[in-house]
């Protein structure tokens, strides 16, 4: 039992480390997509943006964004010379905030298309499957996992992670219109189809190890909501078998919702573009296998009484009987003791909202510089990012860009490239190239790769 117990801890820790490593390899906030010229996907960040080509067919794109607000590998591992690193998990944990964000999101878009209407308008159709996942974990929860509860005897330890794992599909219809020469407005309406969802509505969970004989207890007001074709029971997650979920059930299913994006572009000068947008205002109504699990109260796992109900001490006497007590099934008992009550109840969950303000200026035709402010709402918290961007066009076929982004405890240098070969357009955008160059010191990562076909590019038009 104990081995099993420890293995669970091991896997959780290694999963955390793995995510941290993984996040440095694949990084995003969407800066490159926003600023690179002639990219269809720029309309995702601001639906007011219009393409300079008559028609673009998005063949597909895929991207991942990962961020660990707490620490990076460099905080955990210190090079000691040679090829070895000293592990300092305690130091990394000590440096954590009270609550720390671990977020991973990704999307696969396409096919889609955008069509210019006359000289003022643009309509677009987009499809995507997106996944947005985050855990907001308390500092002491990770400390408890790493150090064990023996390091927290007599302390109330906040362990309840707030989480939101949402995967959904969307079909979007966008429209952009030039009101006057200097101002464009745009909107995208998106039909959403929820695929799978797990989130916490309440996440108050305190763990305590009593000082007397280390009795364990939870004080909880913790509510988990799940929905989707996989009827997940988070209180029995170890027995969940993804293989039992039919792939066909993951397609557009019984959870629907709507969302919209709004955008504004202002061009006070021909070579200066100022944009503002708000994305993903909407929610999904989760109906399919909707389950609510609520634990509220104080739940204790005390010691067993080996003598209770015994007519006699039996052969061997009290000492042997007491020593025969082995904390079998301790972890199961502790989790089981949380007393989750299940309720079948539909619910609505909002998308992760994002607000952008940006400016892009081309002092000369081949050089562009930009700045961007982003505000993301994750759970009940807001995160801010500020980015600077510079790009250079190498002929009409290639654009290279660099970016710097600060915020969310990260300093990120991004690298972006777009290339056209005839109608074929390919782009790669990474918002944190430092994570590739120096993976030990990266807290976040993003990468998006996409390809499209563009037609009717007017000569002499600048990109963005």
């Amino acid at each position: 039992m104990q081995k099993h117990f420890l293995n669970i801890y091991t896997h959780i820790i290694l999963l955390g480390l793995g995510l941290s490593i993984g996040s440095t390899a694949q990084a995003q906030m969407g800066i490159g997509e926003h600023f690179l010229p002639r990219l269809y996907s720029s309309t995702f960040t601001n639906p007011a943006f219009q393409q300079d080509s008559r028609f673009q067919l998005l063949l597909g794109s895929g991207g991942l964004f990962a961020l660990h607000e707490g620490f990076n590998l460099g905080d955990i591992l210190t090079a000691t010379g040679g090829n070895t690193y000293e592990l300092d998990m305690d130091g990394a944990i000590n440096a954590l905030d009270a609550n720390n964000l671990l977020a991973i999101s990704g999307s696969v878009t396409g096919p889609g298309a955008v069509l210019r209407i006359g000289t003022k308008g643009q309509i677009g159709l987009s499809t995507a499957v997106r996944t947005q996942n985050h855990i907001l974990y308390p500092k002491d929860a990770l400390g408890l996992l790493w150090r064990g509860n023996g390091a927290y005897i007599g302390e109330d330890v906040q362990v309840g992670p707030a989480m939101d794992f949402t995967t959904f599909g969307e079909v979007g219809l966008s429209f952009s219109w030039e009101i006057i020469k200097q101002i464009k407005v745009g909107a995208r309406v998106k039909y959403l189809s929820g695929i799978q969802h797990i989130s916490t509505e309440e996440s108050n969970l305190t763990f305590r190890t009593d000082t007397t004989i280390y009795g364990l207890s939870f004080t909880s007001d913790y509510r988990i909501r799940t929905s989707g074709p996989a009827a997940i029971d988070p209180t029995d997650i170890q027995n969940f078998d993804p293989g039992n979920v039919a792939p066909s059930s993951l397609s557009f299913g019984g959870n629907s919702g709507f969302a919209f994006d709004l955008g504004l572009e202002v061009r006070p000068m021909e070579n200066l573009r100022i944009g503002a947008s708000i994305q993903d205002v909407g929610s999904i109504n989760w109906d399919q296998n909707a389950r609510n699990f609520h634990s509220q109260g104080t739940f204790a796992y005390g010691a067993v009484d080996p003598l209770k109900g015994q007519d006699s001490l039996g052969e061997g006497g009290i000492v042997q009987r007491l020593l025969n007590v082995v904390p079998e099934g301790l972890l199961d008992s502790v989790i089981g003791s949380l007393g989750f009550a299940e309720e079948q109840k539909n619910f609505s969950a909002p998308l992760r909202r994002k607000f952008n303000v940006s400016a892009f200026w081309e002092p000369i035709p081949v050089i562009g510089v930009g700045a961007m402010y982003q505000n993301m709402t994750i759970g009940d918290r807001s995160y801010q990012l500020t980015s600077l961007f510079a790009s250079v066009k190498v002929g009409r076929a290639l654009t290279l860009g660099l970016s710097y982004t600060g915020g969310m405890k990260a300093n990120m240098v991004g690298f972006h490239t777009r290339m056209n070969a005839g109608p074929l357009q390919v782009y790669i955008s990474a918002d944190n190239i430092l994570g590739v160059v120096s993976p030990l010191n990266a807290n976040s990562g993003h990468i998006r790769i996409g390809t499209a076909l563009t037609f009717g590019n007017p000569k002499g038009k600048s990109g963005a």
């Binding site: 104990q2 420890l6 801890y9 091991t10 820790i13 290694l14 490593i21 440095t24 390899a25 590998l73 591992l77 000691t80 070895t84 690193y85 000293e86 592990l87 996992l145 790493w146 064990g148 509860n149 023996g150 390091a151 004989i213 280390y214 009795g215 364990l216 796992y301 005390g302 010691a303 067993v304 009484d305 209770k308 006699s312 001490l313 039996g314 061997g316 006497g317 000492v319 042997q320 007491l322 025969n324 007590v325 904390p327 002929g395 009409r396 076929a397 290639l398 290279l400 690298f415 490239t417 290339m419 056209n420 070969a421 005839g422 390919v426 790669i428 990474a430 590739v436 160059v437 990468i447």
Partner: protein, 511 residues
């Protein structure tokens, strides 16, 4: 070349950019370069929490039913009894035969040991007589013992005979109360001629008393020794105990004699010895039983009743406290009794066929005691699933006791290998880890006392434990506050025991 068409330098630049991302694959090798590569969590879990009162603790002990409570105080009580192996026959009834000639004859009592029997109630026996007559004709023979009566009727036989001839008759004497005068009783006989009613002389009459036994016998008899068998009393509860010192505050040994014989008996203890488990012997020393104890007995007027004599030995009239300090596992005693055939001032005594004498011994050992280093041993197989030592830095047990017993206790475990050799122990020393309750001056518990004890198992010790095949649990007990005298062990006293376990691990994170 058109500016928006494919050009090799452009592609190279693009692919170089893409390849930058592959450097992150190097991270996969990091786990092999991390030092220290251990994860050292400390886990703390509760193990048990229980409460047991002294009754439960002692339930199933070797004393069994011998452990009782009196007003809540535990008392070890051992009882034994002895009876006479044979009924003491202080007078023997014999078969007698004699010829009588006179119509009134005085027949001696059927005893020949010098007894002066004054009264007999027959249980069995017959009066047998044989008439020889040479006369011809029909006659009636009458034989009577006027001193033998039953329900107001004398013992009398009337028989018709036709002579000449020899005629034998028998009269049962069961139930007849025969009163003797100076050891003789009277017997009359007559022979009548039926034709005229005239008494005629008998030629010869032979009278006998045979197969006599009695319900009751009264008179003056000879003295008679009564042998009681030697007896052992086993006290198994002490077989597993060892103590440097033990002192029972109030041991008692009570003798109760039941005597329904109507004569004086003097009882004398020849031996009263106690043996400990090693066979060492200590003898009881007192002045009364060794000199002889006169037992009560019923007088003639109290015939049929049982007289009781009680005698108690304690710390005041014997060395009982001392002899029990050896934790005896065996008590052996041997007693003799001497019956007197006469009462005081030559007064008659009696006995009946149901007269009985028994000696009852009750050994009462109230657990009101002092002790030092009282050791209880228990052995069982080591079958626990202890964790692998290479993953364990240390194990620490925390034992929390809430002790309402007036006993300080230490717990030691000895780990034995297959050859029975001690390979390690749980801890060093024998300092009590469970402190006894708070006491008043009368040996009573006032309140329980909480103690915390920490016992650590290093990997080496844990390894020894895992490799052991048996565990000997050695519990060492001291009565609380020894300087304040004895303490009482009561059934309501409770011992609360809680244990938590803290285990420091060292796990290989690359495993």
């Amino acid at each position: 070349m058109q500016p928006n068409q494919f050009s090799p330098p452009t592609w190279r630049l693009f692919f170089m950019t893409a390849c930058l991302f592959l450097t992150s694959c190097q991270l996969a090798e990091l786990t092999d370069q991390i030092e220290p590569d251990t994860w050292e969590p400390s886990l703390a879990i509760p193990v048990f929490d229980t409460e047991i009162d002294l009754s439960e603790l002692l339930n199933g002990n070797p004393a069994g039913e011998n452990l009782q409570t009196e007003n809540g105080l535990f008392v070890l009580i051992y009882r034994d009894s002895v009876r006479f192996e044979e009924v003491p026959v202080v007078a023997f009834a014999e078969d007698i035969t004699q010829f009588v000639i006179d119509t009134l004859s005085f027949i001696p009592a059927p005893f020949s040991q010098g007894e002066i029997v004054q009264r007999i109630v027959y249980k069995t026996g017959t009066l047998d007589y044989t008439l020889f007559t040479s006369l011809t004709g029909s006659y009636t023979l009458e034989v009577e013992i006027p001193d033998a009566t039953q329900a107001g009727q004398t013992l009398k036989g009337t028989h018709a005979v036709t002579g000449p001839g020899t005629f034998t008759f028998s009269l049962p004497m069961q139930g007849y109360d025969l009163v003797l005068d100076s050891g003789f009783f009277r017997l009359r006989h007559h022979l009548y001629d039926q034709s005229n009613g005239m008494e005629v002389d008998v030629d010869s009459l032979e009278v006998g008393m045979n197969n006599s036994s009695f319900y009751y016998l009264e008179g003056l008899f000879s003295d008679y020794p009564l042998n009681l068998p030697a007896t052992d009393i086993e006290i198994p509860i002490f077989e597993t105990l060892r103590a440097d010192r033990i002192k029972l505050a109030d041991p008692e040994l009570t003798f109760t004699f039941e005597n329904s014989f109507g004569f004086p008996v003097k009882l004398q203890v020849d031996e009263f010895s106690l043996f400990d488990a090693a066979g060492n012997k200590r003898s009881l020393q007192e002045s009364v039983l060794s000199q002889g104890l006169d037992l009560n007995y019923p007088t003639v007027s109290e015939a049929g009743t049982t007289a009781i004599t009680d005698y108690t030995l304690d710390k005041n009239n014997s060395n009982l406290q001392e002899v029990f300090s050896v934790l005896p596992t065996l008590v052996r005693y041997d007693m003799d009794a001497f019956a007197s055939g006469k009462g005081p001032n030559e007064t008659p005594i009696f006995l009946t066929d149901t007269s009985d004498m028994a000696a009852y011994i009750e050994m009462r050992l109230p657990l009101f005691m002092e002790t030092e280093n009282l050791v209880l041993l228990d052995t069982f197989d080591q079958t626990f699933d202890w964790p692998e030592t290479d993953e364990v830095k240390n194990i620490e047990f925390k034992l929390v006791s809430d002790n309402g017993l007036p006993l300080d206790m230490d717990l030691q475990m000895l780990f034995l290998d297959g050859q029975g050799q001690v390979v390690d122990s749980l801890k060093e020393g024998n300092t009590p880890i469970i402190l006894g309750a708070n006491m008043d001056g009368n040996g009573e518990v006032v309140s329980s006392r909480v103690s915390n004890a920490f016992i650590s198992l290093s990997p080496d010790r844990l390894n020894n434990l895992r490799q052991s095949s048996k565990i000997v649990v050695k519990t060492t007990v001291f009565t609380t506050d020894l300087s304040n005298g004895p303490v009482k062990l009561k059934d309501t006293y409770k011992l609360g025991l809680k244990m938590g376990l803290k285990i420091d691990l060292a796990l290989d994170i690359t495993d």
